[in-house]
């Protein structure tokens, strides 16, 4: 009797206990999405890869407009043969116009969705995001292409680390504002990272151009590997494997001065001049130091004027101050804060050959 009851329960469990399945080949995986502002409505473009038998990937996009980002997904579902699922979202792009209006609601929906990962890449597009999403770049799929593009530039080049988690963390951080990389369509099937968009309360207020990204990254992040160029007169020196560390110090009293020390180690890779001697290296070092200090100084002043703080100076001062008053900080203290930048550059000579 006992056995019959137990087997009845197991059978009932197997029959009634099942949950909704999302079988891998019976769903459409949304790997990328782009949002634009079109006629006061948000137009979303979802990117779904279609895997071909020869392992290449076709990109299919679905477009719909609505007031809310969630509604957009419902509209898209109506166009798709299989349910569209968000679990493997890789990149989210925001059109320029939309990001100037504010993208916080959209990002909040990603934060809310438990199936979206925290390693998601966000980026602002100089122009319309739909155009980038619809392009074809290589045969591994557009989303993977864009996410790899952003990742490798974060790891080894001038783009500071960002993803959904870091963006949200910065956004909610007291005394810090967030930033995202900016993409731009270059040719028919080419895109590039064109700069860094700086946010204030979820709206883009400023953009750092591509050639200044190196200095921006020095300030907000640590380099583990990177390259840059230094001009001395007519000659150009290529500097490789830049490793950097930024260090902040708050003045004793009055506490209105922050010293930023940028410690940079690098290897001289290439020099267009004739010979690399100790003297030349010294000169390059000096010039490099001056460049860094000047550019970074300009940048912090620009931030202060616009009342944005991607470096997180406010957060830094808060961590050193008891009973920190954030409202007063933005209103009075931050614009008046004195920032001193000191670059500590060490250039090791030229690689493997003398």
């Amino acid at each position: 009797m006992k056995k019959i009851i137990i087997s009845f329960f197991i059978a009932a469990l197997l029959l009634c206990g099942c949950v909704q399945k999302e079988i891998l080949d019976d769903v459409n995986l949304e790997t990328g999405v782009g949002y634009d502002l079109v006629k006061e409505k948000i137009r979303g473009t979802a990117l779904v890869p279609v895997y071909q038998p020869d392992k290449s990937v076709d990109n299919k996009t679905f477009t719909a407009s609505s007031k809310l980002s969630r509604d957009f997904l419902n509209d898209v579902q109506r166009q798709s043969p299989d349910p569209i699922v968000t679990g493997s979202l890789e990149v989210v792009l925001f059109g320029k116009e939309l990001s100037e209006r504010g993208i916080l609601d959209l990002i909040d929906s990603f934060q809310r969705d438990p199936s979206v990962g925290a390693g998601l890449y966000l980026a602002v597009v100089d122009g319309e995001s739909k155009k980038i999403i619809q392009g074809n770049y290589g045969n591994r799929g557009t989303a993977i292409f864009i996410s790899n593009l952003i990742r490798h530039n974060m790891l080894t080049k001038d783009v500071p680390k960002t993803n959904l988690q870091l963006f949200l963390s910065d956004f909610y951080q007291i005394g810090k504002t967030s930033y995202l990389p900016q993409l731009k369509k270059k040719g028919k099937n080419q895109i590039m990272i064109s700069g860094i968009s700086l946010f204030k309360y979820g709206k883009v207020v400023d953009t750092i151009p591509g050639n200044k990204m190196f200095f921006f990254k020095l300030l907000v992040d640590n380099y583990s590997e990177g390259t840059t160029e230094v001009k001395i007169g007519k000659e150009i020196a290529a500097i490789q494997s830049v490793q950097s560390k930024n260090d902040f110090k708050l003045s004793r009293s009055p506490r209105n001065e922050v010293d930023i020390t940028l410690k940079i180690n690098a290897i001289l890779n290439e020099f267009s001049g004739n010979k690399v001697t100790k003297k030349e290296v010294g000169e390059i070092e000096k010039k490099f130091k001056k460049d860094v200090e000047r550019e970074c100084m300009q940048m912090t002043e620009r931030f202060q004027k616009q009342k944005i703080d991607p470096i997180g100076l406010g957060h830094f001062v808060k961590s050193k101050t008891r009973n920190f008053d954030i409202k007063k900080w933005w209103r009075e203290d931050y614009p008046k804060l004195k920032v001193n930048i000191k670059a500590d550059v060490t250039i090791t000579e030229s690689g493997v050959i003398e």
């Binding site: 206990g17 399945k21 891998l24």
Partner: protein, 496 residues
């Protein structure tokens, strides 16, 4: 001529009954002789299929015919067979006759009779172990003869403390079962338990030790064997020395070992022939293989049915393209392939070796390729299932391997039910089941639970022999010290 004996015996009903039955069998013989010196008439009755007549002719008859004797007692002195028993209990006759004794009766002595041992030993010669083959180490395996098997162990343990006790079980088969233990090393409680259990066995025909395992194990409702069986006399010797108990069954080439633990089923005896680093490595590989073989197909079903988020994006296109054309959901696809593999295994095991091999190869290649091409299964799953099958063969003990074969099916069902949560849930059930299992009332999962650090020396990994100075704690040996380790030498510095 047994008649004159029978008629005058007081227990004539017993005897008559036996006699009338025996006369219906062709191999029952009665022969009458007369002593040359004293003209004493005597009679041999025996079952010719069970006795070795040359023993009778060489060692008994010549003396009995030539030398004078008066009473049955006297023949003990003149016959050159060691095992001669005199009795007046007719109820013994049946048992003795069927154990290969020759019944000798004298005309002059109606009450008593003698049993002369003349068993015929039809023995397969000792061969190489087939199930537990090892490249290194002894190449002897048990055979079907109990005495031969005892001999194989006795000669490895020439000590008086090795106690061999005999029981007869099976109402029809009268199978001889012996327990072996080393007195003073094996826990007397364990010895008592196993003796009680063997005595309690109720069955008509016991033909192999596997019967005994199923009848004396603690829990009958489990796929796991709770007594280790081995065909290696060297392994039996080793475990006797640890303080465990061995059971040998007449007619079975497998010895049983109790108490045992789960991890013991994953240690091959060859582990002890290899250096401890190598054997530890192989043990870990084997444990990994078991986990892999049970879990990999359920994990495939769970991730593909429910958790596509987990799949790395580089793997995505491989998985999707291989599954795109498959009409079956992952669970049916997996069940289809798993059952195919089980069929191949079963067919291979039932057929003669040569044919079986062919079936295995043909089945593996043809069915596998064809089902992928026909779009019934994905090639990724085919690889996974084949690997899982391969991994399940690494379990050294055959019976455990069978249990593991079975385990993945409930896991598959639960994976289908609740994805990864289902798998973990099923794992919890399995874990509970294993915690609740006992072998001779000793926890089956030891040393994992109850955790005993000391017993880890020879569990998941094997430490060097020099560190195994204690017998396993689980065995509660009255003499837990194996050997006293030599005092540690002072550590010397480099170049000293």
């Amino acid at each position: 001529m047994l008649n004159w004996f029978t008629k005058k015996n007081t227990h004539s009903d017993v005897k008559g009954n036996l006699d009338s039955y025996l006369k219906r069998s062709k191999d029952y013989k009665q022969v009458y002789y007369e002593n040359q010196k004293t003209n004493q008439r005597f009679c041999f009755s025996f079952l010719s299929s069970l006795i070795d007549e040359s023993i009778l002719e060489d060692h008994a008859l010549p003396f009995l015919l030539d030398k004078p004797f008066e009473k049955l007692e006297d023949i003990k002195k003149i016959v050159s067979v060691a095992d001669v028993q005199i009795s007046n209990d007719p109820s013994l006759i049946e048992q003795k006759l069927f154990n290969g004794y020759v019944l000798m009766t004298m005309e002059s002595d109606k009450k008593n009779f003698a049993f002369i041992a003349a068993q015929k030993e039809i023995v397969r010669s000792v061969t190489q172990p087939e199930v537990e083959f090892s490249v290194i180490g002894p190449k002897e395996a048990f055979v079907e003869s109990l005495m031969q098997n005892v001999n194989l162990i006795r000669k490895r343990l020439p000590i008086k403390e090795l106690i061999i006790e005999e029981f007869t079980v099976g109402s029809l088969s009268k199978t001889k079962v012996v327990t072996l233990h080393i007195d003073g090393i094996a826990d007397p409680v364990n010895v008592e338990t196993i003796k009680e259990r063997i005595k309690g066995v109720q069955f008509d025909a016991i033909t192999d030790s596997s019967y005994i395992v199923q009848m004396i194990s603690d829990n009958k409702n489990t796929p796991f064997p709770q007594l280790l069986d081995t065909e290696r006399p060297d392994r039996v010797t080793a475990i006797l020395a640890e303080g465990k108990i061995a059971v040998l069954v007449d007619g079975s080439p497998h010895a049983l070992i109790a108490p045992t633990t789960l991890v013991e089923f994953f240690s091959s005896f060859e582990d002890y022939f290899l250096n401890w680093i190598l054997s530890s490595f192989f043990r870990l590989i084997r444990l990994f293989a078991v986990a892999f073989s049970i879990l990999i197909t359920p994990v495939y079903v769970a991730t593909l049915s429910y958790h596509y988020e987990l799949i790395p994006k580089d793997l995505m296109s491989t998985l999707i393209t291989s599954r795109r054309e498959i009409p079956l959901p992952p669970i049916l696809e997996a069940l289809f392939l798993e059952l195919t593999i089980e069929l191949l295994r079963e067919a291979g095991a039932r057929l003669p070796t040569k044919v079986g091999q062919t079936i295995g190869i043909v089945g593996g290649i043809v069915i596998g390729t064809a089902s992928v091409e026909a779009g019934l299964t994905s090639n990724v799953l085919l690889i996974i299932v084949a690997l899982a099958a391969l991994a399940s063969f690494t379990t050294p003990v055959y019976k455990m391997g069978n249990a593991i074969r079975l385990l993945r099916f409930p896991f598959l069902l639960f994976a289908e039910l609740w994805g990864l949560i289902g798998i973990v849930f099923c794992f919890c059930i399995l874990m509970t089941h294993l915690i609740r299992l006992t072998s001779l009332n000793r926890p089956f999962l030891e040393p994992l639970y109850p955790p005993r650090l000391a017993d880890f020396k020879d569990a998941l990994v094997r430490f060097p022999f020099s560190q195994q100075s204690q017998r396993p704690q689980i065995l509660r040996s009255p003499n837990p010290v194996r050997f006293t380790p030599p005092e540690k030498k002072k550590k010397t510095d480099i170049d000293e």
